[in-house]
Every structure is written in C-alpha cells, then in structure tokens.
C-alpha cells in the first residue's frame, strides 16, 4: 500500500480541490484521509456518510475540586500560562489558557486538582461518492489540531485500506510547518507539494520543503495557477530542479475550479481540458509511486 500526502504550506493554492480530484480519478481503489483538520473541506466534495463517529481526546486540562480546595493559591503561583483565576473567591481554570502541563496538580497540597483528557472533537469513517471510504475529523471550537489527531486519522485510514484491499491512501495534509504537518508526512511514500507562482507561494514552498527534506521523502510539485506570473514560475522551477523535486504539472489559472467546487464537483468532473491536465498529473504520480 502506498501513501501519497498532499501539502501546500500556504493556504488557498488549491490543495484540497486537487486532492479531491485525485480521489475521484482513483475511484474505489483510493482511500482518502483528511488531515487538514483545521480547515477540513474535503468532505464538501466527497459526500461522506459518517457511518462511524467517535469522540477524540487529546491534551489535558486541569480541573479544581472546589470542595477540596483550601484557597492556598499555590496553583496560581506556579502556573506560567495565567490559566488560574479567582472568580467569586474560587480558584478557577481558564480552559482556553490552560496548557495541561499538570504543574498545578503536582503542587496542590490537598490534591484538589486533577488533570483530565480534553474532548477536542470527533473523527469519522465514511463511505464516499467515489465508491471508496474516507477518514476525517472535526475539531471543537478553539481546539487545536495535533500530531496525535493526524496520526489517528492516518492510522485508521491505513488500517481500513488494508482491510478493504485498497492500494493507495491519499492524504490531504495539514497546513503550516508545525507538529500536524510533521505527523502528516510521517510514513509517506510520496509527497505532492501544491503551490502557486506567487512571491508568497514560493516563500512558503521553500519553508515547508525544509520539513519534507528532513524526512528524506521523495517529492513532486504541482504548480497551480501556473500562468499567473512567468518570472516567479521560473524561480520556482529553478528551486525545484536544484532540490531534485519532480515538476508534476503546471495547471493554468482558471475560475472553473471554483465553479466546479460551487457545484459540489471536482474539476475532473467539470471541465474536459482541465480534466486531462489533472489526470495526466495523477498518472505521473502513479508511475513514480508504483513503477
């Protein structure tokens, strides 16, 4: 089984639209994992049925038992996150500020503080309209994506792919350069970088590639909206060839991507010309991943 991870560093480059198009092209053979949990949009194009839904817990949060608390103030003294406030004379934990370090619980002389795991959202296993399945998640407001959640989505999708005999897991990776994207990359057979030839696109591509390089995973790049800026495109190509990243394709700037999305479709179901570009890209990836 191969794991193809699509990431972009910068938002708005069309990562999810392209990943969804690949899922449609791959059909029933491709298991989908949406690890872009902060802005999980993949489900809008995949029509998941959310057959299985489970709560997800991650990170800890302190809780003070007011019956036991002697108001000594030690917890507030040691907290470096200003997460313990006195409200109506009671020492209270600010759940948004608490980082779950557990220091307060350790110094409380009467054991009035307990740390418990926080429910941060849900994860789902779904059948989708491509005839395959998808594992995805949704976070509660203010909850943070984590390496743990991404690892969960990935491991569930891989286990399911194995059970169902799928040959590819397609991962819509997390944004940024933090722990979630590291977890998205871990275990990948191939990384697809989706970018656009803008000054900021190139800047973020370089930044996120530093991470990919650390893992030594083979990477390819799709330049979306490729005809926006010839000069930046040239710079980008120089960077790609210097880093030995395969240029998978150049996709032209086209409002049809948005049109398709607005109609709940992927680009390969919407426009013949773009379909052939995206299909060509997908085939190229297949050739690299499954020689």
């Amino acid at each position: 089984m191969k794991e193809i991870v699509v990431i972009s560093g910068k938002g708005g480059t069309g990562k999810t639209s392209i990943t969804a198009a690949f899922a449609v092209l791959g059909g029933s053979d491709v298991m989908v994992a949406d690890c872009d949990v902060d802005a999980a949009d993949m489900h809008l194009l995949m029509e998941p049925d959310r057959k299985i839904s489970e709560d997800f817990y991650s990170g800890e949060i302190a809780h003070i038992d007011q019956d036991l608390c002697t108001r000594c103030g030690k917890c507030q003294e040691v907290c470096r996150f200003d997460a313990i406030q006195i409200i109506d004379g009671e020492y209270t934990v600010d759940s948004l500020a608490c980082e779950g370090c557990g220091y307060c619980a350790r110094v409380c002389p009467v054991d009035a503080i307990t740390n418990s795991e926080q429910n941060v959202g849900k994860w789902f296993t779904s059948g989708i309209r491509t005839g395959s399945s998808m594992v995805h998640a949704s976070l509660n407001i203010g909850a943070e994506n984590s390496g743990k959640l991404v690892a969960k989505v990935k491991s569930e999708s891989k286990a399911l792919a194995e059970r169902l005999g799928k040959s590819v897991v397609l991962v819509d990776g997390s944004p940024g350069i933090g722990c979630p994207v590291v977890s998205s990359l871990s275990g990948a057979s191939f990384v697809v970088l989706v970018t656009e030839p803008t000054v900021s696109g190139l800047h973020d591509l370089k930044r996120v590639y530093e991470l990919v390089k650390k893992f030594g995973i083979k990477a390819g790049c799709i330049v979306n909206k490729a005809d926006l800026n010839a000069e930046v495109l040239d710079d980008m190509k120089r960077f790609l060839s210097a880093e030995d990243i395969v240029l998978l394709s150049e996709i032209p700037y086209d409002d049809k991507f948005t049109e398709a999305m607005t109609n709940g479709k992927t680009i390969v179901e919407w426009d013949g010309e773009l379909e052939s570009v995206v299909r060509g890209t997908w085939e190229k990836i297949q050739e690299i991943v499954r020689p």
Binding site: K2, S186, F215, G216
Partner: protein, 112 residues
C-alpha cells in the same frame, strides 16, 4: 548483533511500519541467539506530541546496534538516538520484516 525493526505486526512476515515515533511494534532480533522479542508500542497513540523521543527512549532499553525503519526518525527522535550510537537504516517502509532484514544484509538499505 541485535537489530530492531519498526513493524506493524509481531511476525517475520509482518509488514514494516514506515513510521518511527508512532510505530505499532518493535521486533528485536538477536542474531547470536536467533531469537525474536516483540515490544508493543501501540500506547504511543495516546501521546499528542513528542512520540518520537518517547519511542527512542524505549528502544534504547534493548541495547540494539542497528535500527531498521521506513522514513527515518524525525528531528527530536534522531537527536535522542544519537546519544545511543545506534546505526539507523532507512528505506524499508514497504517491505516485510524478513525482506527488510535481507535487504539490510545485502547492503541495500541507506544510512539515515
């Protein structure tokens, strides 16, 4: 010599786990005694962050000389492993444990 594999199962024919920090199992093979030991690492799933160093710490308890894995440990785990002097071989993520061992013996696995 003791060799550690990151695996998805407990057998020689099990698939390798390409991940290091969040690997499901270790298989520890002792060439001298021809014996295999298994460590169940699945509790690592509960770690929100820092799975890599935690796994590295567990691994050092076995005193192995070689680690065979898929993509290689991330920065933190690599730093932790450095203190142990263990030799790290990567690129075995798609193999079975047996296949990974044979590839290693044939000198086909890259050093991390």
């Amino acid at each position: 010599m003791k060799i550690i594999f990151t695996t998805k199962g407990t057998e020689w024919e099990s698939a390798m786990d390409p991940r290091f920090g969040r690997t499901e199992f270790f298989l520890i093979f002792d060439e001298e005694t021809d014996s295999v030991e298994v460590y169940d690492n699945r509790a690592i799933e509960n770690e929100a962050h820092g799975a890599g160093p935690k796994t590295a710490q567990k691994l050092t308890e076995y005193g192995a000389e070689v680690l065979i894995t898929g993509n290689g440990p991330g920065g933190n785990a690599a730093m932790a492993l450095q203190t142990t002097g263990i030799e790290i071989r990567v690129g075995a993520g798609d193999m079975t444990v047996r296949g990974a061992y044979e590839a290693y013996k044939a000198g086909k696995l890259k050093k991390a």
